[in-house]
């Protein structure tokens, strides 16, 4: 894992997810896709690691132990040092309120589980390519996952 730097060769993604299988899956695919990855399995750790590592983007599950994803996002967005970092909310709940809550907390994008690794990568790439320009583009919560595009 590399330190906070604007000079890293590859973007650093912080994956915050308490469910180990899912977290390791995203980590494996992101690394496979060429990203540096850091991990956190609860909200408190997520805030600490973000402040410490200043990743290029945070993938934030909302249902987390110790501190939930909304609160973690709120704290990060209220912090001068971390405010600029895009946060992609990730949730298994497609119920109304989750998306609203995520937006209010300051999330830049919203992705509903199940989200296939390549779809997630596509979303991350989109946010990193156009930093802060496309923050409004919240993903459809009831969206049927798109068919996987084969990476060549």
């Amino acid at each position: 894992m590399s330190g906070p730097s604007k000079t890293r060769a590859q973007p650093l993604v912080l994956v915050v997810e308490d469910y180990q299988d899912a977290r390791e899956m995203y980590v494996a695919y992101l690394q496979f896709s060429g990203y540096d990855v850091a991990e956190a399995d609860n909200g408190v750790e997520a805030v600490e690691k973000t402040r410490q590592l200043l990743p290029d983007i945070v993938l934030m599950d909302l249902a987390l132990p110790l501190m939930d994803g909304w609160e973690a996002t709120r704290q990060l967005k209220n912090d001068e040092r971390t405010r600029h970092i895009p946060i992609v909310a990730l949730t298994g709940h497609a119920l109304a309120g989750h998306a609203e809550g995520a937006r209010e907390a300051g999330c830049d994008a919203f992705v509903t589980k199940p989200c296939l690794p390549d779809a997630l990568v596509t979303e991350i790439k989109r946010l990193l390519d156009a930093p802060r320009a496309n923050a409004e583009n919240v993903k459809d919560p009831a969206q049927v996952p798109r068919p996987t595009k084969k990476r060549s």
Binding site: F32, A96, D118
Partner: protein, 709 residues
């Protein structure tokens, strides 16, 4: 025949008072015969003689009439008459003689009124040399005339002269008397007419003239009325003339010439016969107009009276009926307490029953005694108008005790003395029974009220229970929804890992996989996706049923939506080899609705169409109906179609005619059911038009601008 002048003896010996009385009588008398008779009587009383007779000339003929006699036989009187023109008659001679003559030899062919063979004939004249108007014949006095007779003859002569002379005078005063007569008949207020038998007017008084004769200056109406009256009068008279009734009385209706009103007269006509003038008719008309009116009024009054009497009778009859129809006994008693009137119900209690029923009789008497004591109580309290009390009576037939309430009122005469007592008896057994029933009713009512209150309490309890159950149900429903939502989350987490790792394996992230492995991984992937779709659909239905499906209205164009849906289903479309087209027909305005939900519906409809169409085409068409401001999205395929009997079923939960996920993206069997629910949430509908074997058209209709919910 010897002519001897009879010496006139001086008046003496006779009572002068008698002479005075005789003279006074003559002065008051105006009648010749009366005077002559009085003279004869006087002579018979005061002179000695046997026969006396007085002859007086007739005013018209030359006959001498015997007007008074004394001692003459009636046969002689009947036969006697003397014509003054017969000069041979000794009495004619005596009449023309200046002095009395004594006749003693009268030839038998000359008739004289006296039976005596010799008598004195004294001419009666007013004074010497005046013509004699009569003769005084006296017999039985001897040859010498006594002075009383001479005096009487002179006095009577003067009297005759006076009376006969007055008669002449009266003749000259006839005209005046005629005038007087006229004024008399004119003074009579009834019209009087003298007519001939034809009704031609001879004499009429002024009242008659008013009716029958119009003056020169009279109006046309007056003249006509008078003419009419004449005709009516003549007609009335002629009808009576036919009957030849001497005195006729009938009614005659004439016209008042001045007023024009009808006048009713009673016509009284009588015939008079006059030898010189023939037969004429005297008619007297009596105005009975008022009389007739009065008669009519009397008749009317009488009729009214009759009607009133009849009414009184009816009234009395009605009153009797009413009194009899009153169930309560009514009695009228006099001051002595004797019953003068009672109705039928009272008769049952107070009338003596048939003979032989001693028990009943005793009871009736007991009733009577009780009533009498009550009435006497009333009488002692004369100050009160009403008196109320209770009497114990008994039924005469059964002996059943009969407690009654008696209400008595007194009827006073105009002078204020008590005439009658009216008593009404009211059977209290019924009232007592009623009171008992009322009490029962009251108790029942109380009981009922208690029960109602109980029932109400129970109802309230049940309501409360229901309310709690309702809350519990709502809570349970919410819990269920929450549970399902949580479940679907819990499902997703492992499913997410399954799909993710399968994906990574298929994409050789963890190294190259063999073809048989790839085939197995694809099966895992496909089934995991199907499971995910099921979970999503269940979640949707749960949310819709829980009323927790959020609506997010925005404005969008249907063309763009079609593009999106097509691109999302691009892989399936490619695989299907179907011609898929999207058309916007006419000018379809931008739609304001929940874009995501509309898209979900269209996606579902299109994927269904692709799934059930083996060959041909699928067409999406958008159109707009401006009249109802409605947009329609029709998804038409040339597929297998749906039989009529199943066209309703396809919208039910978990209904899929082809129950296996035969096609790539499968189906949960909840798709159309969710679509219809979503359409309803958006204020729209989904309709199906399909023919088996020829294809189906699903049409979504939505308001172009959804109302805010």
């Amino acid at each position: 025949m010897a002519r001897v002048a009879a010496p006139v003896a001086p008046v003496q010996g006779v009572d002068s008072d008698a002479k005075l009385a005789f003279v006074e009588f003559l002065l008051t008398s105006i009648d010749v015969q009366e005077s002559a008779r009085r003279a004869v009587d006087w002579l018979a009383a005061h002179a000695t003689l046997s026969e006396v007779a007085v002859l007086v000339e007739d005013g018209v003929s030359n006959e001498m009439q015997l007007v008074a006699e004394h001692g003459v036989s009636s046969g002689v009187i009947m036969d006697f008459s003397l014509n003054r023109d017969d000069p041979s008659h000794p009495l004619t001679e005596a009449l023309n003689s200046p002095a009395p003559i004594y006749l003693d030899k009268i030839p038998s062919h000359h008739r004289v009124p006296l039976e005596a063979k010799a008598f004195h004939a004294i001419p009666l004249r007013s004074e010497a040399h005046a013509p004699a108007h009569g003769l005084l014949l006296v017999s039985g006095v001897g040859r010498e005339l006594d002075p009383e007779t001479v005096w009487l003859a002179r006095t009577l002569g003067k009297q005759l002269s006076r009376l006969l002379g007055r008669q002449l005078l009266a003749e000259t005063r006839f005209g005046q008397e005629r005038m007087l007569l006229y004024s008399i008949i004119n003074a009579v207020t009834d019209p009087i007419l003298l007519t001939d038998t034809e009704g031609k007017l001879i004499i009429a008084n002024t009242h008659a003239e008013k009716l029958f004769a119009a003056p020169e200056e009279a109006s046309e109406g007056w003249r006509r009325a008078a003419a009419l009256n004449n005709m009516l009068f003549s007609a009335a008279l002629s009808t009576s003339a036919v009957g030849m009734i001497e005195m006729a009385r009938r009614e005659l209706l004439l016209v008042d010439p001045l007023e024009g009103s009808d006048l009713l007269f009673e016509l009284l006509s009588s015939r008079a016969r006059d030898e010189r003038q023939g037969t004429y008719v005297v008619s007297i008309l009596r105005n009975v107009t008022d009389l007739a009116r009065a008669k009519e009024e009397i008749e009317e009054s009488y009729r009214t009276l009759r009607i009133a009497q009849a009414e009184v009778r009816d009234e009395r009859h009605r009153l009797d009926l009413i009194i009899d129809s009153v169930a309560d006994p009514i009695l009228v008693t006099d001051q002595e307490g004797d019953i003068v009137l009672m109705n039928t119900p009272a008769e049952r209690l107070f009338n003596t029953p048939g003979i032989g029923d001693e028990t009943a009789l005793r009871r009736v008497r007991a009733n009577g005694a009780n009533l009498t004591s009550f009435v006497s109580n009333v009488l002692t309290r004369s100050g009160e108008q009403r008196y109320r009390g209770e009497i114990q009576l008994g039924d005469p037939l059964t002996g059943r005790p009969l407690p009654v309430e008696a209400v008595a009122g007194t009827i006073l005469s105009e002078q204020g003395e008590l005439m009658w007592v009216v008593t009404i008896l009211h059977d209290l057994t019924e009232a007592i029974e009623k009171a008992r029933l009322y009490e029962q009713l009251k108790q029942a009512s109380v009981e009922l009220e208690r029960k109602v209150q109980e029932a109400t309490g129970e109802l309230a309890q049940q309501n409360e229970l229901l309310r709690r159950q309702h809350i519990a149900l709502e809570q349970a429903s919410a819990l269920k929804s929450q549970f399902l939502a949580n479940m679907s989350h819990e499902f997703r987490t492992p499913l997410n890992a399954i799909l993710g790792y399968t994906h990574m394996l298929l994409h050789n992230v963890t190294g190259q996989v063999t073809d048989p492995q790839r085939k197995s991984l694809s099966r895992i992937d496909s089934n995991a996706r199907h499971l995910l779709a099921l979970i999503n659909d269940i979640l949707d239905i749960t949310r819709i049923e829980a009323g927790r499906m959020p609506l997010n209205s925005m404005t969008f164009r249907l063309g763009e939506l079609f593009d999106e849906v097509q691109s999302e289903l691009e892989p399936i479309i490619k695989r299907s080899n179907l011609t898929v087209a999207a058309k916007v027909r006419g000018a379809v305005p931008p739609v304001r609705s929940d874009r995501q939900k509309v898209k979900q519906i269209v996606l579902n409809l299109l994927s269904n169409a692709l799934k059930f169409t083996p060959a041909g085409s699928v067409t999406m068409t958008a159109s707009y109906d401006a009249r109802v401001r409605q947009v329609s999205i029709a998804v038409k395929d040339t597929g297998v179609g749906i039989p009529d009997e199943d066209q309703v079923k396809v919208f039910e939960d978990f209904r899929q005619l082809d129950s296996s996920p035969a096609r790539g993206y499968g189906g949960t069997g909840l798709g159309l059911s969710i679509c219809r629910r979503l359409a309803q949430i958006l204020g729209g509908t989904i309709d199906l038009d399909s023919t088996l074997g020829r294809g189906s058209t699903f049409t979504l209709r939505l308001p172009a601008r959804a109302r805010r919910r």
